[in-house]
């Protein structure tokens, strides 16, 4: 493994989260589109996605969206300001601060739900 620093991991995570969100979006559209085959099919999909493991998936998805969004703003600053590149490392740490602040409520609500045995309904 090449021993890159913050920038390398920021990029790898941005791509992984971007592709992750894209996969979710495709599944999500398929799920909704399943209504075209009638209520039985649609309900079967719904039931399938109501399994507890998908609550965990939801937590992963939210983490992906938050990281991708905040790091996306970091990339925009690097691309369009004269100083962004110079402070890219600090900006990346700011991304993680924002990430934790915005992720905590989801973690408590959904994570608490998982531990309490709820399925998110």
């Amino acid at each position: 493994m090449y021993r890159g620093r913050e920038g390398q991991w920021a990029f790898y995570l941005h791509r992984i989260s971007g592709i992750g969100i894209l996969v979710f979006l495709i599944l999500h559209v398929l799920n909704i589109a399943s209504a075209m085959w009638g209520p039985e099919v649609s309900n079967a999909f719904m039931k399938f996605y109501h399994q507890p493991v998908f609550q965990l998936g939801l937590l992963v998805l939210i983490a992906g969206v938050l990281y991708h969004g905040f790091n996306g703003l970091r990339i925009i600053l690097m691309d369009f300001t004269a100083w962004g590149v110079r402070y890219q490392r600090q900006l990346w740490y700011a991304v993680w601060v924002l990430f934790v602040v915005f992720y905590l409520p989801f973690l408590l609500k959904i994570g608490g739900g998982i531990l309490g045995g709820s399925h998110g309904d």
Binding site: M1, Y2, R3, G4, R5, E6, G7, Q8, A10, F11, Y12, H14, R15, I75, M78, D79, F80, G84, V85, R86, Q88
Partner: protein, 232 residues
């Protein structure tokens, strides 16, 4: 001190794929990795192949992947690495033998940005004058020694060898921002193409690898903006 030197070796005449060989070398802390390679080649195994010329960080021929990072063997001291040192050829270019890679794709990218002054206006009586500020604008790129540390540290280049790479963009920057140059649009043909600057994903490995301390990513971003705002 005793150094364990692990080298990724490959002999096209008998190997199918590269393999690690380990050497025990007696070294001083202020020895350079290049000195260790010499000790192996001169006293232990003469078949070891690597490039070097100046030995003083200026010819750019001995970029290697040392302890997981691209560096010049002649500019890297043993005391900064510890007693276990790994040396591999730089990535993304075809390995010819041991630490020697085929640099031709790298230099093809270099040629593609036309790394020379382009100006077909009639020459003035004397020099094409330039203010100190105009000269400073492209100073950083002039320090490049074409060692390929940056290009071969780039994750995009490892996966997509057609990417023109940071070194070529640094060289292009040196001329694009030269007040005497008129060849910007010609260079943009390569730089704005599908294998040009837009492949860059700002992973910063290039900036950290550059032995000349050129802010490579900064220069790439400046070239991107120059292309983007060219027609405004």
């Amino acid at each position: 001190m005793q150094v364990t030197l692990k080298i990724l070796r490959f002999d096209p005449a008998k190997d199918k794929k590269p393999h690690w060989e380990t050497y025990q070398v007696e070294a001083e802390p202020w020895d350079r990795v290049l000195d260790l390679l010499h000790k192996v080649k001169w006293y232990q195994d003469g078949s070891l192949a690597f490039r070097r010329s100046c030995g003083h960080g200026i010819c750019g021929s001995d970029a290697m992947l040392i302890n997981g990072r691209n560096r010049l063997a002649c500019k890297t001291l043993v005391k900064d690495l510890g007693s276990v040192i790994t040396v591999e050829p730089i990535r993304g270019l075809p390995v010819e033998k041991d630490l020697i890679v085929d640099m031709e794709p790298f230099f093809a990218a270099y040629r593609a940005v036309k790394p020379y002054l382009i100006n077909d206006e009639p020459p003035p009586q004397r020099e094409r004058l330039q203010s100190p500020e105009e000269r400073a604008r492209f100073d950083q790129g002039t320090k490049c020694i074409l060692c390929a540390s940056c290009t071969t540290s780039c994750p995009v280049f490892w996966v997509n060898g057609t990417y023109i790479g940071p070194a070529a963009i640094v060289q292009a920057h040196r001329f694009i921002f030269d007040s005497r140059d008129r060849g910007k649009r010609e260079r943009f043909k390569a730089l704005a193409s599908g294998s040009g600057v837009w492949r860059c994903r700002t992973a910063y490995n290039c900036t950290e690898a550059c032995p000349r301390e050129i802010p490579v990513t900064q220069l790439i971003e400046e070239v991107k903006r120059e292309i983007l705002f060219d027609h405004f």
